[in-house]
């Protein structure tokens, strides 16, 4: 069981109802974690439209998670 720090932005923040939280999980990759959170908070965006950041750097969906990681899922961006 891993304990992670999750950070939510924009539509994910609104759907989760919080900007961040500590989360315990059996997920071992970012992809598994996203599937879990989709069920928990009813996130509708498919992974193909989402990016992942671990410890404030973009990373691969298959990256292994470690306890204490800060994980953020990035919905489609719209700056400018």
């Amino acid at each position: 069981m891993l304990t992670l720090h999750l950070h939510y932005f924009a539509i994910f923040r609104e759907q989760a109802g919080k900007p961040s939280e500590k989360h315990s999980t059996h997920a071992s990759t970012a992809a598994e974690l996203y599937t879990e959170l989709q069920q928990l908070y009813d996130f509708k965006l498919p992974p193909s439209q989402v990016k992942v950041a671990i410890n404030q750097e973009f990373c691969d969906w298959q990256q292994r998670l470690e306890s204490g990681d800060h994980v953020a899922f990035i919905p489609p961006v719209a700056g400018g």
């Binding site: 950070h7 932005f9 924009a10 539509i11 923040r13 609104e14 509708k44 965006l45 439209q49 990016k51 950041a53 404030q56 750097e57 973009f58 953020a72 990035i74 919905p75 489609p76 961006v77 719209a78 700056g79 400018g80």
Partner: protein, 148 residues
Amino acid sequence: MLSSFKFSIDAIDVARLQDNLSHPSAGAVVTFEGRVRNHNEGQRVVRLEYEAFIELASKEGQRIIDEALKHHTIVTAHCVHRTGLLEIGEVAVWIGVSAGHRGAAFDACRYIIDQLKQRVPIWKKEHYDSGNSGWIHCDTTPNNPTSL
């Protein structure tokens, strides 16, 4: 010369930022302002809300500035992006580039805004006069104008 990518919660002071672009070798200065527009996809927009993943967005924004400096013959490049609630007409993003000649200044400025829109974790929520609102590119509801 120093180049930078920054966020501002306060109104962007364009005149002050422009001063950063002066350099004796800069024969061309190109600036771009992205402003809040009162309509999008057939809906009347009354205000916008910008949210950013500041730590990652600052890093990614600085990478874009560094790429512009590496690939174009320019003197300096700066970008400032707003966060928070913005009213119609306010400057949401300002980009300024100075270079020896105009071609590189135009190209670098275009590169920065195009890359910013694709890569930097910033999100925009439009508030409409109907009372509805939506995160741009994020709504998965069919037939919603803010959906992909």
